[in-house]
Amino acid sequence: MSSEVISDGPSISEVTKNGLWTNNPALVQLLGLCPLLAVTGSVVNALGLGLATMAVLIGSNTIVSLIRNHVSDAVRLPAFVIIIAAFVTCAELLMKAYTYELYQILGIFIPLIVTNCAILGRAEAFASKHHVGYAALDGLMMGMGFLLVLVALGAIRELFGQGTLFASMNLLFGPVANSWMLQPFGENYSFLIAVLPPGAFLVTGLLIAGKNYIDAVLKRRADAQRDRPIKGAKRIRTTGHIS
C-alpha cells in the first residue's frame, strides 16, 4: 500500500473484501480460535457469540480511532484493552438482560471476548491508523467475516453432530423461532465427534482448505485471462530477459 492511499484511506470495497474474504479473521488470520472452536456446536451459539463479538469490534474500532491522536504510543495497548473490556461488559449486560438463557449457555466465553486477539489486532493494526468512518466499517466487516465463519461452523457441526439445524433459535429470536428447527436425518441421528472439540478442529481445517481451494481456482482463472508476456521479450528500463 503506498503512502498516498493511507492518507486518503483505503477504498470501501477494499475494506469490505479484506474483512469478509482476503483477510478473514477466522480463516486467514486464525485469530479468536478459542471461541471459534469452543462455542460453535450449534447455529444459535455461534450466532449469539458472533453478534456479540461484532458489536464489540465495531464499538472498540470506533472509539480507538477517535482517540488515536490523543493517546501516547507507550500506553496505547492498555488503553485499547480497557476500551474493549468496557464494550464487552456492555455486551454481557445486554445479553443478560435480553437473552438470558443463551447468556447462560455461552457462559465464560462472553467475558472472554476481551481476549479475542482479532479485536485487539484490528484496534492496533487498523483503527489506530485510520479515520473513524473507515475504522467502524472495518470493525463491521471483520466482525461480519468472523460471524459468517462461526455460523458456517456451527451449522455444519450441528447438522452432522446432532442432525438438527437452527435448534433452539428461540433463545435469540424469541417464540417466533420455535418452529425453525430442521431435522433432515430423522430424530435418532447423532455423530458425537462433530459436536466434540475434534470435530471443531476438523471442520475448521476443511473450511480453511475450501477457502484456499477457491482462491487457487480464482487465481488460475485470472492468470489464464491475463495477457502473457512473450518469452524472450525485453523489459523496458530493466535489465535481463523474461524467462
Binding site: 447423532s190 455423530f191 458425537l192 465427534i193 462433530a194 475434534p198
Partner: protein, 354 residues
C-alpha cells in the same frame, strides 16, 4: 580359508511394500479364524466391508490428487488398515459404523496427511477412536463367545449375519454380551476369585476369558510368524507386553477386590496381542530406532494398563497407541542410533564442532 570379495551393498534385497503388506494380511488369518470361530461371522463381514470401502476411498482420493491409482492400490496398505479396523470392531455391528470408521481411517487419518508414509497417527486406530467417541453404544456391544451362548443355540449364520449388519435385524437373545475387561471393570467389591467363580466369561475359560484367549492366541501366532519373517523387530511388542505384564504384576494386589485383574487376563483379553503385533508395529507412526521402539512399546503397555485399571474405558489399546504416536517424534529425538564410523550418537546434519 578363502575370503570372497563381495562388493557393496551387502544388505539382502529388501522386500517391497506390497510383499510386506501381503504378509501382514496373511498373518491376520489365525486371529480372524479365531474371531469367526468364537464370535460368528460378524468379524468376517466387518473385514470384507471395510476392505471394499477402503479400496474405494483410497482410489477416489488418489484420483483427486492426480496420482496413479494402480500404483497406490497395489501396495495393499489401504487393505491392511481396513482389515485391522475390521478385526477391532465389534462383530455384527451395523454396516454404516464400519463405513464411517473406514472413511475416517483412509480419508482423514491417512490421505489428508499425505498418504502412506506421511500419517503421524495409526489410521486404523484413528478410525476406531472416532467410532468409539461417536457411537459408544454400538461400539461397546460385543457378541457372546461360543461357550456362553444359551444351550442349543449358535451364532447367526452367514445370511442371518448379513441381515443383522445390513438390514438392521436385531440378533436373537443371548447373542450379545460383555467382554472380560468390561465385566472386570464393573465388578468392584468382589475378590478376583469370586469374579472368576461367578462370571461365565471366566469360569468357562481356560486361563483368561472365554473366547478372547483364543483370539489373542491367534494374533500371537500371526505375530510370531511376522517376527520370524523379520517384518518388524521384537522391540515394540516385547516392550508393550512386558510393560503390561509388569504393571499388572505390580498392581495385582494378590487378588483383592480392588485388583484390576491378573497378568494373564491383561495379556490375553481385549486387544492386547493384536495391538502388540499388528498395531504398534506400524513402521510409519511408531518410533524409528530399536531403542526408540522399545520405549514406544513400553509407553503403550503402561498407558494401556493405566487406562484399563483406572480410566473410564474397559480397553485402551487405541487410545494408548494414539498418545504414543504423538510421542514418537520426541522419542526419536532422544534415541538417535550411533552412525557407523562415529564414536557417539549425533545427527547426520549436525555440524562438526571446532
Amino acid at each position: 580359508m578363502a575370503f570372497k570379495q563381495v562388493s557393496s551393498p551387502h544388505a539382502h534385497a529388501a522386500q517391497n511394500t506390497a510383499q510386506v503388506m501381503k504378509l501382514v494380511l496373511l498373518a491376520t488369518i489365525p486371529g480372524l479364524v479365531a474371531l469367526t470361530w468364537q464370535f460368528g461371522w460378524g468379524s468376517f463381514i466387518n473385514v470384507v466391508l471395510a476392505s471394499v470401502t477402503a479400496v474405494c476411498c483410497e482410489a477416489a482420493i488418489v484420483k483427486m490428487r492426480g496420482r496413479s491409482i494402480s500404483f497406490y492400490l497395489g501396495d495393499y496398505s489401504a487393505v491392511v488398515t481396513a482389515v485391522l479396523l475390521g478385526l477391532a470392531l465389534p462383530p455384527l455391528t451395523p454396516w454404516w459404523i464400519v463405513v464411517v470408521g473406514t472413511v475416517s481411517s483412509i480419508v482423514v487419518a491417512k490421505q489428508l496427511y499425505g498418504g502412506l508414509g506421511y500419517n503421524p497417527f495409526n489410521p486404523a486406530m484413528v478410525g476406531y477412536v472416532v467410532l468409539l467417541i461417536s457411537f459408544p453404544i454400538q461400539m461397546t456391544t460385543w457378541v457372546a463367545p461360543l461357550a456362553l451362548l444359551p444351550a442349543g443355540t449358535a451364532h447367526p449364520g452367514l445370511m442371518e449375519s448379513l441381515q443383522i449388519v445390513f438390514a438392521g435385524y436385531s440378533p436373537a437373545d443371548g447373542v450379545t454380551g460383555a467382554t472380560p475387561l468390561d465385566v472386570f471393570k464393573h465388578s468392584s467389591g468382589l475378590l478376583v476369585d469370586q469374579v472368576y467363580d461367578r462370571e461365565p466369561l471366566f469360569n468357562q475359560a481356560m486361563f483368561a476369558g472365554a473366547g478372547w484367549e483364543w483370539v489373542n492366541l491367534g494374533f500371537l501366532l500371526g505375530g510370531i510368524v511376522l517376527l520370524t519373517q523379520r517384518i518388524f523387530t521384537w522391540h515394540g511388542p516385547v516392550g508393550m507386553l512386558g510393560a503390561l505384564a509388569l504393571m499388572s504384576i505390580i498392581f495385582w494386589d494378590s487378588g483383592s477386590s480392588s485388583s484390576p485383574g491378573s497378568p494373564l487376563m491383561h495379556l490375553f483379553s481385549g486387544a492386547s496381542m493384536m495391538g502388540a503385533f499388528f498395531i504398534l508395529t506400524d513402521p510409519v507412526s511408531s518410533a524409528v530406532s530399536n531403542r526408540g521402539r522399545l520405549i514406544f512399546g513400553i509407553l503403550i503397555g503402561i498407558l494401556v494398563y493405566v487406562i484399563r485399571a483406572w480410566g473410564n474405558y474397559p480397553d485402551a489399546v487405541a487410545f494408548a497407541v494414539l498418545i504414543a504416536n504423538f510421542a514418537a517424534p520426541f522419542i526419536d529425538n532422544y534415541t538417535l542410533p550411533r552412525t557407523y564410523g562415529h564414536t557417539d550418537r549425533r545427527r547426520a546434519t549436525e555440524k562438526e564442532e571446532g
